[in-house]
Amino acid sequence: MTAVGEYGVVTVAGHALSRAQVEDFLYEEADILDAWRYDDWLALFAQGARYEIPTTDYAGWSLHESGSFVDDDYDLLLARVKRLKSRKAHAENPHSRTHRLISNVRAFAHEDKLRVTASFVVHRARDGQFDTYVGRYEHLLLPTDDGLRFWLRRSILTHEALPAGARLSFIL
Protein backbone atom coordinates (compact mmCIF):
# COMPACT_ATOMS: atom_id res chain seq x y z
CA MET A 1 0.00 0.00 0.00
CA THR A 2 1.59 3.26 -1.10
CA ALA A 3 2.35 5.95 1.42
CA VAL A 4 -0.33 8.61 1.56
CA GLY A 5 1.86 11.37 0.22
CA GLU A 6 1.86 10.08 -3.32
CA TYR A 7 -1.28 8.02 -3.04
CA GLY A 8 -3.53 8.34 -6.03
CA VAL A 9 -1.30 10.54 -8.13
CA VAL A 10 -1.51 9.99 -11.88
CA THR A 11 1.27 11.27 -14.10
CA VAL A 12 0.25 12.31 -17.60
CA ALA A 13 2.56 13.97 -20.10
CA GLY A 14 4.85 14.95 -17.26
CA HIS A 15 2.09 16.39 -15.11
CA ALA A 16 1.51 14.80 -11.70
CA LEU A 17 -2.20 14.98 -11.03
CA SER A 18 -4.26 14.04 -8.00
CA ARG A 19 -7.96 13.34 -7.84
CA ALA A 20 -8.30 16.49 -5.74
CA GLN A 21 -7.07 18.58 -8.66
CA VAL A 22 -9.57 16.98 -11.03
CA GLU A 23 -12.36 17.51 -8.51
CA ASP A 24 -11.39 21.16 -8.12
CA PHE A 25 -11.52 21.53 -11.89
CA LEU A 26 -14.98 19.96 -12.12
CA TYR A 27 -16.29 21.89 -9.11
CA GLU A 28 -15.07 25.14 -10.59
CA GLU A 29 -16.76 24.33 -13.89
CA ALA A 30 -20.01 23.57 -12.03
CA ASP A 31 -19.93 26.96 -10.31
CA ILE A 32 -19.15 28.70 -13.60
CA LEU A 33 -22.12 27.03 -15.28
CA ASP A 34 -24.51 27.69 -12.41
CA ALA A 35 -23.42 31.34 -12.51
CA TRP A 36 -24.02 31.47 -16.29
CA ARG A 37 -20.43 32.63 -16.95
CA TYR A 38 -20.14 31.22 -20.44
CA ASP A 39 -16.95 32.96 -21.51
CA ASP A 40 -15.19 31.53 -18.50
CA TRP A 41 -16.68 28.17 -19.36
CA LEU A 42 -15.32 28.29 -22.90
CA ALA A 43 -11.91 29.07 -21.47
CA LEU A 44 -11.93 25.63 -19.84
CA PHE A 45 -11.80 23.98 -23.27
CA ALA A 46 -8.73 23.34 -25.35
CA GLN A 47 -8.89 24.57 -28.94
CA GLY A 48 -10.56 21.90 -31.07
CA ALA A 49 -12.25 20.22 -28.12
CA ARG A 50 -15.66 18.56 -28.43
CA TYR A 51 -18.86 18.51 -26.34
CA GLU A 52 -21.04 15.41 -26.63
CA ILE A 53 -24.28 14.09 -25.18
CA PRO A 54 -25.29 10.73 -26.62
CA THR A 55 -28.94 9.68 -26.67
CA THR A 56 -30.32 7.51 -23.91
CA ASP A 57 -30.03 4.34 -26.01
CA TYR A 58 -26.27 4.92 -26.30
CA ALA A 59 -24.26 1.74 -26.66
CA GLY A 60 -20.78 3.13 -27.29
CA TRP A 61 -21.02 4.04 -30.97
CA SER A 62 -19.40 7.05 -32.61
CA LEU A 63 -21.61 10.13 -32.75
CA HIS A 64 -20.35 10.64 -36.30
CA GLU A 65 -22.29 7.54 -37.23
CA SER A 66 -25.42 7.87 -35.11
CA GLY A 67 -28.04 10.19 -33.80
CA SER A 68 -27.29 12.05 -30.58
CA PHE A 69 -28.44 14.95 -28.43
CA VAL A 70 -25.28 17.02 -28.71
CA ASP A 71 -22.46 16.48 -31.22
CA ASP A 72 -20.55 19.75 -31.06
CA ASP A 73 -17.22 20.23 -32.68
CA TYR A 74 -15.36 23.32 -31.54
CA ASP A 75 -17.15 25.57 -34.05
CA LEU A 76 -20.58 24.46 -32.88
CA LEU A 77 -19.45 24.82 -29.30
CA LEU A 78 -18.64 28.46 -30.04
CA ALA A 79 -22.04 28.87 -31.69
CA ARG A 80 -23.75 27.26 -28.70
CA VAL A 81 -22.03 29.59 -26.26
CA LYS A 82 -22.84 32.59 -28.41
CA ARG A 83 -26.48 31.50 -28.46
CA LEU A 84 -26.61 30.97 -24.71
CA LYS A 85 -25.24 34.46 -24.14
CA SER A 86 -27.94 35.94 -26.36
CA ARG A 87 -31.16 37.30 -24.86
CA LYS A 88 -32.90 35.55 -27.74
CA ALA A 89 -32.09 32.01 -26.65
CA HIS A 90 -35.70 31.77 -25.47
CA ALA A 91 -35.41 28.28 -24.03
CA GLU A 92 -32.93 29.67 -21.50
CA ASN A 93 -34.27 33.20 -21.12
CA PRO A 94 -35.12 33.52 -18.36
CA HIS A 95 -32.17 31.32 -17.35
CA SER A 96 -32.81 28.00 -15.68
CA ARG A 97 -31.66 27.82 -12.09
CA THR A 98 -29.21 24.96 -12.05
CA HIS A 99 -27.50 23.12 -9.22
CA ARG A 100 -24.89 20.43 -9.65
CA LEU A 101 -23.64 17.54 -7.57
CA ILE A 102 -20.51 15.86 -8.82
CA SER A 103 -19.32 12.74 -7.08
CA ASN A 104 -17.50 9.44 -7.56
CA VAL A 105 -14.72 11.20 -9.45
CA ARG A 106 -12.08 8.87 -10.87
CA ALA A 107 -9.08 9.69 -13.04
CA PHE A 108 -6.98 7.45 -15.28
CA ALA A 109 -4.07 8.11 -17.56
CA HIS A 110 -5.13 7.78 -21.21
CA GLU A 111 -2.22 8.38 -23.57
CA ASP A 112 -1.40 12.07 -23.19
CA LYS A 113 -4.78 12.81 -21.66
CA LEU A 114 -6.49 12.22 -18.40
CA ARG A 115 -9.62 10.10 -18.63
CA VAL A 116 -12.06 11.26 -15.97
CA THR A 117 -15.29 9.61 -14.94
CA ALA A 118 -17.76 10.95 -12.40
CA SER A 119 -21.40 10.74 -11.39
CA PHE A 120 -23.47 13.88 -11.72
CA VAL A 121 -26.89 15.05 -10.73
CA VAL A 122 -28.02 18.35 -12.16
CA HIS A 123 -31.13 19.95 -10.71
CA ARG A 124 -32.95 22.52 -12.80
CA ALA A 125 -35.67 24.86 -11.55
CA ARG A 126 -37.74 26.81 -14.05
CA ASP A 127 -41.38 27.66 -14.70
CA GLY A 128 -42.46 26.10 -11.41
CA GLN A 129 -40.95 22.77 -12.41
CA PHE A 130 -38.01 21.08 -10.76
CA ASP A 131 -36.22 18.62 -13.02
CA THR A 132 -33.41 16.24 -12.22
CA TYR A 133 -30.82 15.08 -14.74
CA VAL A 134 -28.84 12.06 -13.69
CA GLY A 135 -25.80 10.74 -15.46
CA ARG A 136 -22.13 10.14 -15.74
CA TYR A 137 -19.26 12.17 -17.09
CA GLU A 138 -16.71 10.50 -19.30
CA HIS A 139 -14.30 13.29 -20.12
CA LEU A 140 -10.86 13.50 -21.63
CA LEU A 141 -8.83 16.26 -19.99
CA LEU A 142 -5.66 17.81 -21.30
CA PRO A 143 -3.11 18.76 -18.65
CA THR A 144 -1.48 22.08 -19.49
CA ASP A 145 0.86 24.37 -17.61
CA ASP A 146 -2.18 26.58 -16.91
CA GLY A 147 -4.13 23.68 -15.50
CA LEU A 148 -6.53 21.15 -16.91
CA ARG A 149 -8.57 21.71 -20.07
CA PHE A 150 -11.41 19.77 -21.66
CA TRP A 151 -10.46 17.79 -24.73
CA LEU A 152 -13.69 15.84 -24.83
CA ARG A 153 -16.54 16.77 -22.53
CA ARG A 154 -19.10 14.00 -22.58
CA SER A 155 -22.25 13.69 -20.45
CA ILE A 156 -24.00 10.32 -20.57
CA LEU A 157 -27.53 10.23 -19.21
CA THR A 158 -28.77 7.39 -17.01
CA HIS A 159 -32.40 8.02 -17.95
CA GLU A 160 -34.16 5.70 -20.39
CA ALA A 161 -35.61 8.80 -22.03
CA LEU A 162 -35.47 12.51 -21.25
CA PRO A 163 -38.31 13.00 -18.77
CA ALA A 164 -41.18 15.41 -19.41
CA GLY A 165 -40.00 18.99 -19.68
CA ALA A 166 -36.37 18.04 -19.56
CA ARG A 167 -34.25 19.55 -22.30
CA LEU A 168 -30.58 20.12 -22.91
CA SER A 169 -30.89 23.80 -23.74
CA PHE A 170 -28.44 24.53 -20.94
CA ILE A 171 -25.10 22.80 -20.41
CA LEU A 172 -25.44 19.40 -18.80
Partner: protein, 451 residues
Amino acid sequence: MPQAGRDGAGMPMIVEDWDRLTFRVNREAYRSSEIFDRERDNVWLQNWLYLGHETEIAKPNDFIVRTLAGRPLIFCRDTDGEVRAWLNSCPHRGTVLCRETTGSSKLFQCFYHAWTFRNNGDVAAIPDDSAYEGSEGLRESMKLRAVPRLETHEGYVFVSFNPDVPPLLEHLGDAADYMTMIEQQHVSGMTTLPGVQLYSVRGNWKLAVENAMDGYHFSPTHNTFVGYLRENGFAVTDDDQYAYNLGNGHSLLVLTGHGGRISMIWEPRFGEDERARTAAHRKEMTERLGEQRAHYVADESHILFVFPNLLLFDIEGLSIRQLEPVSAAQTDVRAWQLVPRVEDPASRALRMKTVVSFVGPGGLATPDDIEAYEAVQRGIEATANERRGELDFSDMSRGMVDEVKGVQGRSIDEGAMRGFWRHWVSAVGIDNGLRVDGKRPASFLEGRDVR
Protein backbone atom coordinates in the same frame (compact mmCIF):
# COMPACT_ATOMS: atom_id res chain seq x y z
CA MET B 1 -70.34 27.38 -18.96
CA PRO B 2 -67.61 26.80 -16.34
CA GLN B 3 -68.89 23.24 -15.94
CA ALA B 4 -68.95 22.98 -19.70
CA GLY B 5 -65.52 24.57 -19.67
CA ARG B 6 -64.32 21.81 -17.36
CA ASP B 7 -64.62 19.23 -20.12
CA GLY B 8 -65.41 21.20 -23.23
CA ALA B 9 -68.40 19.02 -24.01
CA GLY B 10 -70.82 20.55 -26.49
CA MET B 11 -68.80 23.73 -26.98
CA PRO B 12 -67.62 24.78 -30.43
CA MET B 13 -63.98 23.80 -30.74
CA ILE B 14 -63.50 25.93 -33.83
CA VAL B 15 -65.18 29.16 -34.82
CA GLU B 16 -64.70 30.30 -38.41
CA ASP B 17 -65.96 33.76 -39.27
CA TRP B 18 -66.00 34.52 -43.01
CA ASP B 19 -67.21 38.08 -42.51
CA ARG B 20 -64.47 39.05 -40.09
CA LEU B 21 -62.10 36.50 -41.67
CA THR B 22 -61.13 35.01 -38.35
CA PHE B 23 -60.44 31.41 -37.33
CA ARG B 24 -60.40 30.63 -33.62
CA VAL B 25 -59.55 27.41 -31.77
CA ASN B 26 -61.01 26.67 -28.36
CA ARG B 27 -58.13 26.26 -25.88
CA GLU B 28 -60.07 23.51 -24.17
CA ALA B 29 -58.88 21.38 -27.09
CA TYR B 30 -55.38 21.51 -25.57
CA ARG B 31 -56.42 21.20 -21.93
CA SER B 32 -59.35 18.83 -21.60
CA SER B 33 -58.74 15.24 -20.55
CA GLU B 34 -62.19 14.36 -21.88
CA ILE B 35 -61.17 15.54 -25.33
CA PHE B 36 -57.94 13.61 -24.91
CA ASP B 37 -60.00 10.46 -24.29
CA ARG B 38 -62.13 11.15 -27.36
CA GLU B 39 -58.98 11.62 -29.46
CA ARG B 40 -57.69 8.30 -28.16
CA ASP B 41 -60.94 6.54 -29.07
CA ASN B 42 -61.82 8.29 -32.31
CA VAL B 43 -58.44 9.08 -33.80
CA TRP B 44 -55.66 6.96 -32.32
CA LEU B 45 -57.71 3.78 -32.21
CA GLN B 46 -59.29 4.41 -35.64
CA ASN B 47 -56.65 5.99 -37.84
CA TRP B 48 -53.46 4.76 -39.43
CA LEU B 49 -50.54 5.47 -37.05
CA TYR B 50 -46.86 5.60 -37.87
CA LEU B 51 -45.19 2.76 -35.97
CA GLY B 52 -41.60 2.77 -37.18
CA HIS B 53 -39.23 2.37 -40.08
CA GLU B 54 -38.39 -0.95 -41.70
CA THR B 55 -34.69 -0.27 -41.32
CA GLU B 56 -35.05 -0.27 -37.53
CA ILE B 57 -35.59 -4.01 -37.80
CA ALA B 58 -33.39 -4.68 -40.78
CA LYS B 59 -32.74 -8.37 -40.28
CA PRO B 60 -35.03 -11.34 -39.67
CA ASN B 61 -35.76 -11.82 -35.94
CA ASP B 62 -34.92 -8.20 -35.10
CA PHE B 63 -37.38 -6.70 -32.69
CA ILE B 64 -38.08 -3.41 -30.93
CA VAL B 65 -40.71 -2.74 -28.29
CA ARG B 66 -42.61 0.51 -28.66
CA THR B 67 -45.69 2.06 -27.09
CA LEU B 68 -48.26 3.40 -29.52
CA ALA B 69 -51.57 4.97 -28.48
CA GLY B 70 -50.57 3.93 -24.98
CA ARG B 71 -50.36 0.27 -25.99
CA PRO B 72 -47.12 -1.69 -25.54
CA LEU B 73 -46.25 -3.31 -28.87
CA ILE B 74 -43.57 -5.54 -30.32
CA PHE B 75 -42.41 -4.27 -33.69
CA CYS B 76 -40.46 -7.09 -35.29
CA ARG B 77 -39.38 -8.88 -38.42
CA ASP B 78 -40.24 -12.53 -38.20
CA THR B 79 -37.95 -15.39 -39.14
CA ASP B 80 -39.33 -15.33 -42.69
CA GLY B 81 -38.56 -11.62 -42.94
CA GLU B 82 -42.12 -10.37 -42.64
CA VAL B 83 -42.71 -7.20 -40.62
CA ARG B 84 -45.07 -7.71 -37.70
CA ALA B 85 -46.72 -5.70 -34.95
CA TRP B 86 -47.85 -7.68 -31.89
CA LEU B 87 -49.50 -6.54 -28.69
CA ASN B 88 -46.71 -6.90 -26.12
CA SER B 89 -48.95 -8.70 -23.67
CA CYS B 90 -49.10 -12.41 -22.99
CA PRO B 91 -52.38 -13.97 -24.14
CA HIS B 92 -52.36 -16.04 -20.95
CA ARG B 93 -52.56 -13.49 -18.14
CA GLY B 94 -51.36 -10.30 -19.81
CA THR B 95 -47.74 -10.06 -18.69
CA VAL B 96 -45.45 -7.92 -20.80
CA LEU B 97 -44.11 -10.62 -23.05
CA CYS B 98 -40.93 -9.00 -24.29
CA ARG B 99 -39.26 -6.89 -21.58
CA GLU B 100 -36.14 -6.12 -23.59
CA THR B 101 -36.33 -2.83 -25.49
CA THR B 102 -34.62 -4.21 -28.59
CA GLY B 103 -32.79 -7.29 -29.80
CA SER B 104 -33.01 -10.31 -32.05
CA SER B 105 -34.94 -13.46 -31.25
CA LYS B 106 -36.90 -16.21 -32.96
CA LEU B 107 -38.98 -16.76 -29.84
CA PHE B 108 -40.66 -14.66 -27.20
CA GLN B 109 -40.96 -16.44 -23.88
CA CYS B 110 -43.15 -15.06 -21.13
CA PHE B 111 -41.20 -15.29 -17.89
CA TYR B 112 -44.27 -15.82 -15.72
CA HIS B 113 -45.37 -19.31 -16.81
CA ALA B 114 -42.99 -19.87 -19.70
CA TRP B 115 -45.56 -19.76 -22.50
CA THR B 116 -43.46 -19.35 -25.63
CA PHE B 117 -44.34 -17.83 -28.98
CA ARG B 118 -42.68 -17.70 -32.39
CA ASN B 119 -42.09 -14.24 -33.80
CA ASN B 120 -44.76 -15.08 -36.41
CA GLY B 121 -47.28 -15.28 -33.58
CA ASP B 122 -47.60 -19.06 -33.33
CA VAL B 123 -47.61 -20.75 -29.97
CA ALA B 124 -44.32 -22.62 -29.63
CA ALA B 125 -44.92 -24.09 -26.17
CA ILE B 126 -47.41 -24.10 -23.32
CA PRO B 127 -46.00 -26.04 -20.36
CA ASP B 128 -48.27 -28.87 -19.19
CA ASP B 129 -50.99 -28.06 -21.69
CA SER B 130 -52.81 -31.23 -20.69
CA ALA B 131 -54.46 -29.04 -18.07
CA TYR B 132 -56.52 -27.51 -20.87
CA GLU B 133 -59.37 -28.82 -22.94
CA GLY B 134 -58.35 -29.36 -26.56
CA SER B 135 -54.73 -28.26 -26.66
CA GLU B 136 -54.95 -27.71 -30.43
CA GLY B 137 -57.77 -25.24 -30.12
CA LEU B 138 -55.84 -23.69 -27.23
CA ARG B 139 -52.79 -23.07 -29.41
CA GLU B 140 -55.05 -21.54 -32.05
CA SER B 141 -56.83 -19.24 -29.61
CA MET B 142 -53.67 -18.29 -27.76
CA LYS B 143 -51.61 -16.99 -30.67
CA LEU B 144 -49.99 -13.61 -30.21
CA ARG B 145 -52.47 -10.78 -30.69
CA ALA B 146 -51.64 -8.79 -33.82
CA VAL B 147 -52.39 -5.14 -34.37
CA PRO B 148 -55.26 -5.57 -36.87
CA ARG B 149 -53.67 -3.71 -39.79
CA LEU B 150 -50.11 -3.11 -40.93
CA GLU B 151 -48.98 -1.57 -44.22
CA THR B 152 -45.73 -0.06 -45.42
CA HIS B 153 -44.89 2.78 -47.79
CA GLU B 154 -41.27 3.52 -48.74
CA GLY B 155 -40.11 1.78 -45.58
CA TYR B 156 -42.44 3.68 -43.28
CA VAL B 157 -44.48 1.14 -41.36
CA PHE B 158 -48.00 2.15 -40.37
CA VAL B 159 -50.46 0.23 -38.27
CA SER B 160 -54.09 0.63 -37.32
CA PHE B 161 -56.07 -0.73 -34.40
CA ASN B 162 -59.10 -0.44 -36.66
CA PRO B 163 -59.48 -3.50 -38.93
CA ASP B 164 -61.81 -1.53 -41.22
CA VAL B 165 -59.48 1.37 -41.93
CA PRO B 166 -59.09 2.11 -45.68
CA PRO B 167 -55.83 1.16 -47.42
CA LEU B 168 -52.72 3.08 -46.34
CA LEU B 169 -52.04 4.73 -49.70
CA GLU B 170 -55.60 5.98 -49.82
CA HIS B 171 -55.04 7.52 -46.41
CA LEU B 172 -51.65 9.02 -47.33
CA GLY B 173 -52.93 10.51 -50.57
CA ASP B 174 -50.69 13.37 -51.73
CA ALA B 175 -48.43 12.88 -48.69
CA ALA B 176 -47.16 9.61 -50.11
CA ASP B 177 -45.11 11.22 -52.86
CA TYR B 178 -43.16 13.41 -50.41
CA MET B 179 -42.06 10.26 -48.63
CA THR B 180 -41.04 8.89 -52.01
CA MET B 181 -39.03 12.04 -52.70
CA ILE B 182 -37.00 11.43 -49.56
CA GLU B 183 -36.31 7.87 -50.64
CA GLN B 184 -35.22 9.20 -54.04
CA GLN B 185 -32.62 11.55 -52.64
CA HIS B 186 -30.02 8.81 -52.78
CA VAL B 187 -29.68 5.92 -55.14
CA SER B 188 -28.84 3.64 -52.25
CA GLY B 189 -32.06 4.51 -50.47
CA MET B 190 -32.34 5.66 -46.86
CA THR B 191 -31.88 4.06 -43.49
CA THR B 192 -32.48 5.05 -39.89
CA LEU B 193 -29.54 5.01 -37.49
CA PRO B 194 -29.12 4.10 -33.84
CA GLY B 195 -29.16 7.07 -31.52
CA VAL B 196 -32.86 7.75 -31.13
CA GLN B 197 -33.89 10.97 -29.43
CA LEU B 198 -36.46 10.08 -26.79
CA TYR B 199 -37.90 13.02 -24.92
CA SER B 200 -41.16 14.29 -23.57
CA VAL B 201 -42.75 17.71 -23.63
CA ARG B 202 -45.20 19.27 -21.20
CA GLY B 203 -47.58 20.25 -23.93
CA ASN B 204 -50.50 18.95 -25.96
CA TRP B 205 -49.54 17.00 -29.10
CA LYS B 206 -51.45 19.41 -31.34
CA LEU B 207 -49.13 22.24 -30.29
CA ALA B 208 -46.27 20.22 -31.76
CA VAL B 209 -48.22 19.82 -35.01
CA GLU B 210 -49.06 23.52 -35.23
CA ASN B 211 -45.47 24.46 -34.49
CA ALA B 212 -44.15 22.30 -37.33
CA MET B 213 -46.60 23.85 -39.82
CA ASP B 214 -45.91 27.38 -38.60
CA GLY B 215 -43.38 29.33 -40.67
CA TYR B 216 -44.47 32.50 -38.92
CA HIS B 217 -42.57 31.57 -35.77
CA PHE B 218 -39.31 30.77 -37.48
CA SER B 219 -37.46 34.06 -37.41
CA PRO B 220 -38.58 35.33 -34.00
CA THR B 221 -38.45 31.99 -32.18
CA HIS B 222 -35.24 30.78 -33.83
CA ASN B 223 -33.54 34.16 -33.86
CA THR B 224 -30.29 32.65 -32.58
CA PHE B 225 -30.27 29.81 -35.10
CA VAL B 226 -31.00 32.19 -37.97
CA GLY B 227 -28.07 34.26 -36.71
CA TYR B 228 -25.84 31.20 -36.70
CA LEU B 229 -26.77 30.40 -40.31
CA ARG B 230 -26.25 33.99 -41.36
CA GLU B 231 -22.76 34.08 -39.83
CA ASN B 232 -22.02 30.94 -41.78
CA GLY B 233 -22.83 32.55 -45.07
CA PHE B 234 -26.46 31.60 -45.50
CA ALA B 235 -29.13 34.32 -45.65
CA VAL B 236 -32.39 32.88 -44.40
CA THR B 237 -35.57 34.22 -45.99
CA ASP B 238 -39.29 33.50 -45.61
CA ASP B 239 -40.29 34.98 -48.97
CA ASP B 240 -42.21 33.06 -51.63
CA GLN B 241 -42.63 29.92 -49.58
CA TYR B 242 -45.89 28.10 -49.10
CA ALA B 243 -47.83 25.77 -46.86
CA TYR B 244 -50.11 23.15 -48.39
CA ASN B 245 -52.99 21.11 -47.09
CA LEU B 246 -52.69 17.63 -48.52
CA GLY B 247 -56.06 16.32 -47.34
CA ASN B 248 -56.91 13.80 -44.59
CA GLY B 249 -55.29 16.18 -42.12
CA HIS B 250 -51.86 15.95 -43.73
CA SER B 251 -49.96 19.09 -44.56
CA LEU B 252 -46.71 20.31 -46.05
CA LEU B 253 -44.40 23.25 -45.64
CA VAL B 254 -42.15 23.91 -48.62
CA LEU B 255 -39.14 25.99 -47.66
CA THR B 256 -36.65 27.27 -50.17
CA GLY B 257 -35.03 29.90 -48.01
CA HIS B 258 -33.74 27.83 -45.08
CA GLY B 259 -30.92 25.70 -46.46
CA GLY B 260 -29.24 22.79 -44.76
CA ARG B 261 -29.71 20.55 -47.82
CA ILE B 262 -26.62 18.47 -47.31
CA SER B 263 -25.27 16.72 -50.43
CA MET B 264 -27.81 18.65 -52.53
CA ILE B 265 -27.11 22.35 -52.06
CA TRP B 266 -23.68 23.26 -50.81
CA GLU B 267 -23.13 25.93 -48.17
CA PRO B 268 -19.87 27.38 -46.88
CA ARG B 269 -20.40 25.86 -43.43
CA PHE B 270 -20.23 22.40 -45.05
CA GLY B 271 -16.58 22.91 -46.00
CA GLU B 272 -14.71 22.67 -49.30
CA ASP B 273 -14.45 18.87 -49.51
CA GLU B 274 -18.20 18.58 -49.34
CA ARG B 275 -18.55 20.95 -52.29
CA ALA B 276 -17.26 18.44 -54.83
CA ARG B 277 -19.25 15.56 -53.32
CA THR B 278 -22.40 17.67 -53.56
CA ALA B 279 -21.84 18.51 -57.22
CA ALA B 280 -21.26 14.86 -58.08
CA HIS B 281 -24.36 13.78 -56.22
CA ARG B 282 -26.54 16.39 -57.89
CA LYS B 283 -25.29 15.18 -61.25
CA GLU B 284 -26.22 11.61 -60.34
CA MET B 285 -29.65 12.74 -59.18
CA THR B 286 -30.40 14.60 -62.39
CA GLU B 287 -29.43 11.58 -64.45
CA ARG B 288 -31.53 9.28 -62.31
CA LEU B 289 -34.60 11.47 -61.76
CA GLY B 290 -34.56 13.97 -64.56
CA GLU B 291 -34.13 17.73 -64.24
CA GLN B 292 -37.49 18.66 -62.79
CA ARG B 293 -38.01 15.83 -60.35
CA ALA B 294 -34.43 16.27 -59.14
CA HIS B 295 -35.23 19.91 -58.54
CA TYR B 296 -38.23 19.14 -56.37
CA VAL B 297 -36.35 16.46 -54.48
CA ALA B 298 -33.15 18.42 -53.97
CA ASP B 299 -33.81 22.14 -53.95
CA GLU B 300 -36.74 22.38 -51.59
CA SER B 301 -36.80 21.74 -47.89
CA HIS B 302 -39.97 19.97 -46.81
CA ILE B 303 -41.68 19.61 -43.50
CA LEU B 304 -44.36 16.99 -43.92
CA PHE B 305 -47.04 16.17 -41.38
CA VAL B 306 -48.86 12.86 -41.77
CA PHE B 307 -51.96 12.87 -39.60
CA PRO B 308 -51.91 12.23 -36.69
CA ASN B 309 -48.48 11.20 -35.38
CA LEU B 310 -45.74 11.54 -38.00
CA LEU B 311 -43.55 14.53 -38.87
CA LEU B 312 -40.84 14.32 -41.52
CA PHE B 313 -38.20 17.02 -41.49
CA ASP B 314 -36.41 17.16 -44.82
CA ILE B 315 -34.38 20.18 -43.72
CA GLU B 316 -30.98 20.47 -42.01
CA GLY B 317 -30.67 16.76 -42.59
CA LEU B 318 -33.54 14.33 -42.46
CA SER B 319 -35.41 13.34 -39.40
CA ILE B 320 -38.48 11.34 -38.55
CA ARG B 321 -40.44 12.53 -35.55
CA GLN B 322 -43.20 10.50 -33.93
CA LEU B 323 -45.71 11.97 -31.49
CA GLU B 324 -47.10 9.80 -28.71
CA PRO B 325 -49.65 11.69 -26.62
CA VAL B 326 -49.52 10.72 -22.95
CA SER B 327 -52.14 13.11 -21.60
CA ALA B 328 -53.75 16.37 -22.65
CA ALA B 329 -50.72 18.19 -21.27
CA GLN B 330 -47.88 15.78 -22.11
CA THR B 331 -46.51 14.27 -25.29
CA ASP B 332 -43.70 11.80 -25.73
CA VAL B 333 -41.57 12.54 -28.77
CA ARG B 334 -39.25 10.15 -30.63
CA ALA B 335 -36.87 11.24 -33.35
CA TRP B 336 -34.79 9.17 -35.71
CA GLN B 337 -32.14 10.40 -38.11
CA LEU B 338 -32.57 9.16 -41.67
CA VAL B 339 -29.44 8.90 -43.83
CA PRO B 340 -28.38 7.46 -47.18
CA ARG B 341 -27.54 3.80 -46.79
CA VAL B 342 -24.27 4.47 -48.61
CA GLU B 343 -22.46 7.69 -47.85
CA ASP B 344 -18.96 9.14 -47.59
CA PRO B 345 -17.93 9.06 -43.90
CA ALA B 346 -17.09 12.76 -43.91
CA SER B 347 -20.50 13.61 -45.37
CA ARG B 348 -22.10 11.34 -42.82
CA ALA B 349 -20.30 13.01 -39.93
CA LEU B 350 -21.21 16.43 -41.32
CA ARG B 351 -24.82 15.30 -41.67
CA MET B 352 -25.07 14.00 -38.14
CA LYS B 353 -23.48 17.09 -36.66
CA THR B 354 -25.72 19.35 -38.73
CA VAL B 355 -29.02 17.64 -38.07
CA VAL B 356 -28.39 17.45 -34.33
CA SER B 357 -27.31 21.08 -34.23
CA PHE B 358 -30.87 21.91 -35.36
CA VAL B 359 -33.32 19.27 -34.14
CA GLY B 360 -33.74 17.60 -30.82
CA PRO B 361 -33.72 18.78 -27.24
CA GLY B 362 -29.98 19.47 -27.38
CA GLY B 363 -30.01 21.38 -30.67
CA LEU B 364 -29.83 25.09 -31.22
CA ALA B 365 -33.42 25.35 -32.48
CA THR B 366 -35.78 22.67 -31.15
CA PRO B 367 -35.44 23.77 -27.51
CA ASP B 368 -37.06 27.06 -28.45
CA ASP B 369 -39.92 25.16 -30.06
CA ILE B 370 -40.33 23.06 -26.91
CA GLU B 371 -40.32 26.29 -24.91
CA ALA B 372 -43.14 27.42 -27.17
CA TYR B 373 -45.33 24.32 -26.68
CA GLU B 374 -44.80 24.45 -22.96
CA ALA B 375 -45.33 28.20 -22.65
CA VAL B 376 -48.60 27.84 -24.55
CA GLN B 377 -49.75 24.96 -22.39
CA ARG B 378 -49.08 27.02 -19.26
CA GLY B 379 -50.42 30.23 -20.75
CA ILE B 380 -53.81 28.91 -21.73
CA GLU B 381 -54.62 28.28 -18.08
CA ALA B 382 -55.20 32.03 -17.94
CA THR B 383 -58.56 31.70 -19.70
CA ALA B 384 -59.77 28.33 -18.40
CA ASN B 385 -63.48 28.60 -17.50
CA GLU B 386 -63.27 32.27 -18.46
CA ARG B 387 -66.65 34.00 -18.26
CA ARG B 388 -65.77 35.99 -21.38
CA GLY B 389 -65.78 32.69 -23.27
CA GLU B 390 -64.45 34.24 -26.50
CA LEU B 391 -61.13 34.96 -24.77
CA ASP B 392 -60.51 31.24 -24.33
CA PHE B 393 -59.78 30.89 -28.05
CA SER B 394 -56.49 31.03 -29.94
CA ASP B 395 -56.29 32.92 -33.22
CA MET B 396 -55.21 31.23 -36.44
CA SER B 397 -56.58 33.71 -38.95
CA ARG B 398 -53.37 34.55 -40.79
CA GLY B 399 -53.88 34.37 -44.55
CA MET B 400 -57.64 33.98 -44.53
CA VAL B 401 -57.64 37.15 -46.65
CA ASP B 402 -55.95 35.01 -49.33
CA GLU B 403 -57.73 31.78 -48.48
CA VAL B 404 -61.13 33.36 -49.04
CA LYS B 405 -59.93 34.33 -52.52
CA GLY B 406 -58.57 30.84 -53.23
CA VAL B 407 -54.98 32.09 -53.20
CA GLN B 408 -52.36 29.58 -51.98
CA GLY B 409 -51.30 30.27 -48.38
CA ARG B 410 -47.73 31.16 -47.50
CA SER B 411 -45.48 29.31 -45.08
CA ILE B 412 -45.82 32.29 -42.74
CA ASP B 413 -49.61 32.12 -42.81
CA GLU B 414 -51.72 29.80 -40.66
CA GLY B 415 -53.58 27.98 -43.43
CA ALA B 416 -51.96 24.61 -42.83
CA MET B 417 -53.08 24.78 -39.21
CA ARG B 418 -56.63 25.61 -40.26
CA GLY B 419 -56.64 22.57 -42.53
CA PHE B 420 -55.38 20.43 -39.66
CA TRP B 421 -58.04 21.70 -37.27
CA ARG B 422 -60.85 21.30 -39.78
CA HIS B 423 -59.86 17.67 -40.21
CA TRP B 424 -59.34 17.18 -36.49
CA VAL B 425 -62.79 18.38 -35.50
CA SER B 426 -64.50 15.99 -37.88
CA ALA B 427 -62.18 13.11 -36.97
CA VAL B 428 -62.70 13.53 -33.23
CA GLY B 429 -66.40 13.91 -33.84
CA ILE B 430 -67.36 16.57 -31.34
CA ASP B 431 -71.03 17.55 -31.73
CA ASN B 432 -71.25 21.14 -32.93
CA GLY B 433 -67.48 21.18 -32.74
CA LEU B 434 -67.30 23.58 -35.67
CA ARG B 435 -69.17 26.85 -35.87
CA VAL B 436 -69.14 28.71 -39.16
CA ASP B 437 -70.25 32.33 -39.24
CA GLY B 438 -70.73 34.07 -42.55
CA LYS B 439 -70.37 32.48 -45.97
CA ARG B 440 -67.75 29.76 -46.13
CA PRO B 441 -65.97 29.25 -49.50
CA ALA B 442 -67.33 26.32 -51.51
CA SER B 443 -63.93 24.60 -51.25
CA PHE B 444 -60.38 25.09 -50.00
CA LEU B 445 -57.14 24.59 -51.89
CA GLU B 446 -55.80 21.10 -51.36
CA GLY B 447 -52.67 19.31 -52.49
CA ARG B 448 -49.93 20.39 -54.87
CA ASP B 449 -48.91 18.71 -58.07
CA VAL B 450 -45.19 18.11 -58.49
CA ARG B 451 -45.30 15.01 -60.67
